[in-house]
Symmetry: C2
Subunit: 354 residues, 2 copies
């Protein structure tokens, strides 16, 4: 297969915008009444619904490494990171606004691949790219996405509604995205140490489920809507920074403590296998790894039985207690780890515990 | 005066977010019901109004030069660039979402100065910073802003509504921002050529009006609302890329031609003076300079007389004609310049005519 590399300067800014417009126009949403092509987009809000807005910025060298992230994976992950925030409010996305800073070492084809994957992922939920901005970037690729969505007033879920006695639940499994990243990093290091040979073949056999979770995660938009249709969710957040950090956000916003139990924290067999290979505790991947894009939420004990009638993989992992904000984890050996503050990665500080 | 320089790593990402939150909370808007501090913001839309969304990305070294842009000026201009797009729809802004990529050579104080100026400028129109994202940036300062606003369905103005026979009008004067930039660039060059001496004093005497327009422009939000209250605006755009380019957007979107007259294009005396000093035609600054953040709009001839009853400086500069999209300028000497496409700066292409 021949790979085409058309320099961006061949098409210019307006040429790129035309390509973006035709990609964006593949999708539609009845609430988007003016899309790309004016000073601003115009959206209608369904009567009696609230508007929800979230935004994220991704910068090359900080959030992603182009040596093992394809433009297609990047486009998809950029969409998922934002959709996951919309899911955490139990909202539905309507329109996305995509601003790109583009370095001249990227080709038109690469940018189109990114944009197509982004539009496709958003389009799964009838979310339309309705605007954006495009700039040269003196260095690296910069992606800033804002999603506007809507939610019924009685179905919105904040971080601040957790109550003593609530059951803490989590969707899917945790730590698998970080386990996948470990494999990608290991193979990149092998490639670099071997002198970057042309015939290098990374060893990804048997790691599909972990790589898939890291490179092509899914946002829990549909599951979140199913949950809020049947159950009053007291509080919710998406797991993007690791379970401890995200649970801590709920605890701080709600003024409560959370007591979680290692035994119930869902960790996939492939995550355990990778932890073993690296002689690391796979629970650490779940607690601090991030990028799982699952949801953590709290509900009353009475509502817990209703979960069984729902499609989708949801598990109870602990309890909310009245008291000062903290997260404690009861380990399998009976010891209790207590966190009074955020343990995981912060930009500008590099104290990641992994 | 002692200038403090606190490294960002002293406060970390969450420290910065706390500072941003307290700045943002100085302002409120009744339609912003959940602000910074959750996965997304929640906004209410006034019954029967439409939601308007615009977004812009600014990248150091592309959109601004830190050697003559203070953080306060940059914060203000970042707000104005977006507010100006809201004004071009005749909408009112409600909430802003601000994502920053921050290089480690910036101090906490510099970022706060930027953010304060941004919040103050938005706050003039009751526009609240309701969310955002903060990241390290390996290179330069990156600012991505999205503003959400609202407009009555019968007062929204698109680029596509210009009709043959319309009068073309412009607010304020044009080209002055570019004239101010010429002075800033000249003084920067003098400073560099002199070997960057500590006692260098730039010569800005008598150029205040031009520097003010470049460094501290105003968005025409209030004037735009006054106009749409009294007059049916057929089409409108803000002048951010220069008159020819922005008028061309209206012509292409509406499928019409515009015939403008140099004699009526408002150019301030200081703009003419600076043009003379550089031996350049000041009309070029108006046609291709950009960053004036004035508004160009078209109205029916019958409505033209209503303009006199309005506060604010508005002038008629030409006519809309049926026909293929083009912009013609009748020069003072009777010659006519015709543009069939965008003449001004495009990212990735460097064909600016200045």
């Amino acid at each position: 297969m021949e790979i085409k590399f058309t320099p961006i300067s061949n098409v210019g800014e307006f040429g790129l915008i035309e390509k973006f417009s035709s990609t964006a126009l593949r999708f539609s949403n009845p609430n988007v009444i003016q899309t790309i092509g004016d000073d601003a987009a115009i959206l209608k809000t369904t009567a009696d619904k609230l508007t929800v807005v979230t935004t994220d910025i991704l910068i090359q060298g900080v959030h992603f490494d182009m040596s093992y992230t394809s433009m297609r994976h990047l486009g998809r992950k950029a969409a998922v990171a934002n959709l996951s925030d919309i899911a955490a409010m139990s909202a539905l996305p309507t329109a996305a606004f995509v601003s790109l800073g583009i370095h001249s070492n990227l080709s038109v084809e690469m940018i189109e691949e990114f944009y197509d994957a982004l539009a496709d992922e958003l389009g799964k939920y009838q979310c339309v790219i309705a605007g954006g901005d495009t700039s040269a970037s003196p260095v690296g690729f910069v992606v800033s996405i804002t999603i506007v969505g809507e939610v019924e007033p009685d179905r919105r879920v904040l971080r601040s509604g957790a109550k003593g006695g609530d059951v803490v639940c989590v969707t899917g499994d945790l730590g698998r995205s970080h386990a996948g990243l470990k494999i990608l990093q290991r193979e990149k290091n092998r490639y670099v140490e071997a002198g970057q040979p042309a015939d290098f073949s990374p060893n990804f056999d048997g790691y599909d489920d972990a790589l898939q979770k890291h490179l092509l995660p899914e946002a829990r938009v549909t599951l979140s809507r199913n949950l809020s249709e049947k159950i009053r969710l007291h509080s919710m957040i998406d797991v993007s920074d690791g379970l401890v950090s995200d649970m801590m956000h709920i605890c701080k916003a709600s003024g409560v403590a959370a007591e979680l139990d290692e035994e119930f924290i869902p960790i996939d067999p492939i995550t355990r296998k990778i932890g073993d290979e690296f002689k690391e505790d796979p629970l650490r991947y779940a607690l601090y790894g991030g990028e799982d894009y699952e949801l953590v939420f709290t509900i009353s004990e009475e509502d817990f039985s209703k979960l069984y009638s729902l499609e989708g993989n949801v598990r109870a992992i602990g309890r909310v207690k009245a008291g000062d904000p903290k997260v404690s984890i009861k380990r399998a050996d009976g010891k209790v780890e207590v966190y009074n503050d955020f343990p995981s990665y912060q930009h500008f500080k590099r104290q990641s515990r992994l």
